[in-house]
């Protein structure tokens, strides 16, 4: 029984500044197939087309060639109800805290739901839910001024602003870039909860392999606007040589195990989770001690 994927991208191509001397091929044939409830990481070197790809999912860009289908809605269809699509897919940009424009936190989060034309009570419920999910207390924080917040808190507000649309798919472009380690870990935990408990499908772009290893159930690696490798973290990090060739790192755990293996120790080099890697290393140490 094959399940209908919630997002399917087929041979998507995109050329910036088409027809000018500054023409730039951002995507030259990318395909994705993502099922409901998955947590997907899209990784790749700078300029590999990740940001262009995720803007297609939200209808900010339409396919120049190829196909994007979100939950049965084909983005090549000119009569597509784009507002419906954007409610289904919440897109969180890089540095989303820049987009906050209201003076009061609650108002800013309520902007999206108000634009959807929801009744005031529903808006209030959604703002409350979104704030609690990202870890901001509704009663305490809703009337605070936005400009006095720290960077990490601002990002939470911006994330809540998108979550308040109650999307089925949440797409994030480098969600933790520029955050301090504590806010980073908090945010990652929240995203994991969202994926596991609220059953929101998550697609995120990242340069940080530790967080990819922590969050992702499946990984797509892009290079020069094409699919390079895809699969579970074990599979992808097992191809360390291919990744290295395209200037993509692996998590520290995989790096260490890889070096141990190169020295002739019997370890599984793609045990990427922290505990597993630790077990592998302990096993090696035990053998040595014997």
């Amino acid at each position: 029984m094959t399940e209908q994927p919630i997002l399917e991208v087929k041979h998507l191509q995109h050329i910036y500044m088409k027809g000018t001397p500054l023409e730039h091929h951002a995507l030259s044939g990318v395909s994705l197939k993502i099922n409901k409830g998955e947590c997907i990481a899209v990784i790749g070197h700078t300029g590999s087309g990740k940001s262009t790809l995720i803007q297609h999912v939200n209808g900010l860009m339409r396919p120049q060639s190829g196909e994007v289908v979100v939950d049965g809605m084909n983005l090549s269809d000119p009569k597509l109800d784009i507002r419906l699509l954007r409610r289904k897919v919440g897109l969180v940009f890089q540095n989303p805290e820049d987009q906050i424009f209201e003076k009061i936190i609650g108002d800013d989060i309520a902007y999206g739901p108000f634009k959807m034309g929801l009744p005031i009570k529903e808006v209030r419920d959604r703002v409350k839910w979104a704030m609690e999910v990202v870890g901001l207390s509704f009663d305490e924080m809703k009337d605070r001024a936005t400009y006095a917040l720290s960077g990490g808190q601002k990002r939470k507000v911006a994330l809540a602003g998108v979550l308040a649309l109650r999307p089925d798919i949440l797409v994030l472009d480098e969600p933790t870039a520029g955050l301090d380690p504590r806010s980073r870990n908090e945010l990652l935990e929240k995203l994991k909860t969202l994926n596991e408990q609220e059953k929101i499908t998550i697609i995120f772009v990242s340069h940080n392999m530790e967080e990819v290893a922590y969050l992702a159930g499946r990984i797509y690696v892009l290079a020069d606007g094409r699919n390079l490798v895809e699969g579970t973290p074990e599979e992808v990090f097992g191809e360390a040589d291919t990744l290295k060739k395209h200037h993509i790192g692996a998590p520290d755990t995989v790096e260490i195990l890889g070096q141990l293996k190169a020295k002739g120790f019997a370890v599984r080099p793609n045990a990427y989770q922290l505990e597993e890697a630790a077990k592998e290393i302990i096993a090696v140490l035990r053998q040595d001690g014997r």
Partner: protein
């Protein structure tokens, strides 16, 4: 959103100011001071020339400049496109209400307050041509010259004004910064529009008479854009000061421009061309 979307947010695509298209042509390699002086001469002569013949010649020259600089003429045309409504409105106004200024020539139509003479038609056609010529010229100039070169050119051309206490350097700096940040803010605005659009914002969809509503619609872009501009300005100030920029102090330039024989030849050509446009008795 009626038209097939996909380009609605690509603002940078439509901005040709501050965009430099490096093709390495003769025009690109010209000394910026001489280039600016020559282009200024050409623009002034085109703005004054009022004959059909002269303007046709000028139009041919401005098209030729695209060819020589190896920049696709579509760039120039995309600069003309947004000006078309203005050209049209101007043409109609001139045709209807300028009969007193251009009252010479044969009377073609005389109905009520409308007097159309051969002279007023000439005025209409010539001003439309001028528009196109000058847009073409300035496009070639900005597309073939980097902003640093333009400001260096302006600075050294304006240097004589220093004797009357005109702040030449500061003026040039302001222009550099302004030009430099046009594409940056366009990108920033593009990003903001996309971010707010994915939160359900809509721009320019309300009826035009609901001015308050339409103004409110752009708040989610304008306010963050101001914030970003302010923090960029702060960063810029810090970066400049950390590199020892002191306003008003004597500065040297890292790159000295040197005019070659071809530059002088181009300048002489432009002078001759300007004289021809202004003084040659074109039959039409």
């Amino acid at each position: 959103m009626k038209k097939i979307a996909g380009f609605e947010f690509e603002l940078t695509r439509n901005i040709t100011i501050g965009q430099y298209v490096p093709t390495g042509s003769i025009i690109h390699r010209m000394d910026p001071r001489i280039k600016l002086a020559s282009f200024t001469l050409l623009v002034i002569s085109m703005a004054v020339c009022a004959t059909y013949g002269g303007n046709l010649l000028a139009l041919v020259l401005s098209c030729l400049l695209f060819y020589v600089s190896r920049i696709p003429i579509s760039y120039g045309l995309s600069g003309v496109k947004p000006a078309i409504p203005f050209i049209l409105i101007l043409a109609i106004l001139q045709l209807l209400f300028y009969s007193e200024v251009a009252s010479g020539g044969k009377v073609l139509l005389n109905y009520g307050f409308i007097h159309i003479t051969t002279d007023s038609i000439r005025l209409v056609v010539v001003s439309a041509l001028r528009f196109v010529e000058i847009i073409f010229l300035s496009s070639v100039l900005t597309l073939s010259t980097s902003t640093t070169q333009i400001t260096h050119g302006i600075e050294s051309l304006l240097r004589p004004l220093r004797t009357v206490k005109f702040p030449v350097h500061e003026f040039a700096l302001i222009i550099t910064i302004a030009l430099r940040f046009v594409p940056t803010f366009a990108l920033e605005m593009e990003k903001m529009m996309k971010a707010q659009a994915s939160r359900g914002a809509e721009f320019g969809t309300g009826a035009w008479w609901r001015i308050v509503q339409r103004t409110k619609d752009v708040f989610p872009i304008i306010i963050p854009l101001f914030n970003v501009a302010m923090s960029r300005a702060e960063d810029l100030v810090l970066a400049m000061e950390s590199r020892c920029y002191v306003p008003g102090s004597q500065r040297s330039v890292s790159k000295k421009y040197k005019a070659y024989r071809t530059d002088y030849a181009a300048l002489i050509f432009c002078i001759v061309f300007a004289i021809v446009l202004l003084a040659f008795p074109f039959p039409y």
